[in-house]
Symmetry: C2
Subunit: 336 residues, 2 copies
């Protein structure tokens, strides 16, 4: 099943069911108006949405319309939790190697995760607004899951049963603010602005055998200004699978339905696969030549993030964002 949230001027938007091939959609308001509502009562509501999904795929849903990702909010426009891992340890190794820092041994057994802001997510085609290019604007292409209720102390394998939906994420990062916040030790408040998510969230069965062992064994594509810069395997090299990430959070507290958990930047040891964030490209350049050559993003830059199934078509639809000056957006809003 594939679900999206259409913009309707409200904070939570309107839940729509989207066809498997992402061409058609249908309002779900006969069942539920908002995705959080479905997550709160998953066992009762999701089978009803699935019926609609089957009808839609068979061309039998009465009020179907063409699906337009540009009209989408994030599947959950706001959530009660967004906790992001750094589950591809290769990413951590590269970034640390570039600054001559060791990776502590514990990093291979204890996931690195940060709690992110979850009150104001971006839709897949929303402009990404920044006050200045000097912040070190970077994309981060990731896979994320939305969970059901997970009880404190749940083990990694059980935690996997709590995965309700999967999405792609663009975890925007302000690299020039990261060192200061890392030094404070309290995590990221300013260096991780609003995160964007893919047009649709899909149930794990949509991935078929590619969803295995708590990992998505497919390639994540990143195009920066129209040029493909990354085609990274999101599966094998994910050091901690999603069950392990969820269980890490659940060690001392419950997770409640609708919690979003991210993989962190998808990263492969084989550099020929490219990169899912510019920081990594710069780390590689530093390792190779002593200093980074690639600059961070500029106003007007575009980023496109997408994942294709083994059989070809896009699974989640694409994240397609422009890097936009905050003052420009504010000026325009005041003229509207």
């Amino acid at each position: 099943m594939k679900l999206a949230t259409y913009k309707d001027g409200s904070r939570d938007g309107q839940l729509v069911v989207v066809s498997k091939d992402l061409t058609m959609a249908h309002y779900a308001n006969g069942v539920a108006t908002r995705l959080q509502q479905v997550l709160d009562d998953w066992n009762f509501l999701s089978p009803q949405l699935d019926d609609l999904y089957v009808s839609l795929n068979h061309g039998k849903a009465r009020h179907a319309f063409s699906f337009d990702p540009k009209l989408c909010m994030a599947p959950l426009p706001r959530a009660y939790q967004w906790c992001d891992g750094s589950a591809f340890i290769n990413h951590v190794e590269l970034v640390r190697k570039a600054r001559n820092a060791e990776v502590p041994a514990s990093f291979y057994t204890d996931p690195l995760m940060y709690q992110g802001g979850s009150d104001d997510f971006l839709g897949p085609c929303d402009k990404a607004l920044f006050a200045s290019e000097d912040l070190g604007i970077d994309f981060e292409a990731e896979v994320a899951v939305i969970t059901g209720d997970i009880a404190m102390g749940t083990d990694p394998q059980q935690a996997l049963d709590g995965v309700r939906l999967l999405m792609l994420a663009n975890d925007w990062s302000l690299r020039n603010l990261v060192p200061g916040e890392l030094a404070k030790g309290f995590g990221f408040v300013q260096s991780k602005p609003a995160t964007a998510f893919s047009p649709v969230a899909v149930t794990p069965d949509e991935l078929g055998p590619a969803w295995s062992g708590g990992r998505v064994h497919l390639k994540l594509q990143s195009q920066w200004n129209g040029q493909r810069v990354g085609l990274c395997d999101a599966g094998n090299e994910m050091t901690f699978h999603f069950g392990e990430l969820i269980a890490h959070i659940a060690k001392t507290r419950n997770l409640r339905a609708g919690a979003i958990v991210g993989s962190g930047t998808v990263s492969n040891k084989d550099w020929s696969h490219g990169y899912s964030c510019i920081a990594e490209k710069r780390a590689i350049e530093t390792i190779e030549s002593g200093s980074p050559q690639t600059e961070f993003m500029k106003f007007g830059d575009t980023i496109h993030i997408e994942m294709m199934g083994k059989d070809g078509p896009s699974i989640f639809g694409a994240i397609d964002q422009d890097v936009t000056p905050l003052h420009e957006a504010q000026t325009q809003a005041s003229q509207d």
Copy 2:
């Protein structure tokens, strides 16, 4: 106006208006059923709740009933953001001095804040569940605000206009997990379990002149196992006021209605005022005698946190929690 959320078996509970003296309550369902709904549409709904509040205070609300804090969830049982400061720099100074670490100069101009989990808050009288005493169980008595929408780039003074409600918080901390997470630099995931909040959230006008300059100029009381251990001034020594904390978060992103922002442990330079968390007591002992004597909390311990107005009575009602073993709660649940 004073608002609370009654347990009704649902995830978000039932909004009630509570009388100024905390003796009577009235369901708000003629206006709104959930507090988040009110925050989403504050200018339209809050005056209607205020009318009910006035009637209730005059003994003229038709279906009023006795208010019982034990039936309360947190005013927002789950929220889209919980971001907690360490705004009383004296607390930071003490803890650092005890481990012979300097306070960086930037800490006096740049607030220390962490993003917390907000999907599973505790009610004021809910048991606090922990897997083991070895985690280093500690309370943290704080003041917190709930905001309206705050735009990216809002300055501290404007940000204060966005404060909708105030509460008390008990930001449970697992001290023995803190050093490991601090070293990772990504903030607190496991060492900050579910936070508890006071029975009622109040509008700033309820504090009268005690709400001034973005600070609450009243004393915060902490009783551990029935003994008063802290009576700390929550006003003057708050290095960063709430507007500054909110503006810090808003530097690179919007805050949306219902974001909760905390002061961090209330702490005074004059040690005779006592402490609002055990870590601070242990820091003082270490400074004085070379090592901490006071142990962290044990199963069966109780904590009571409350704030009285200048004229006497409790403003927010009391947080009253028991430290409870997780396995005991789980066994009981399986027998229910």
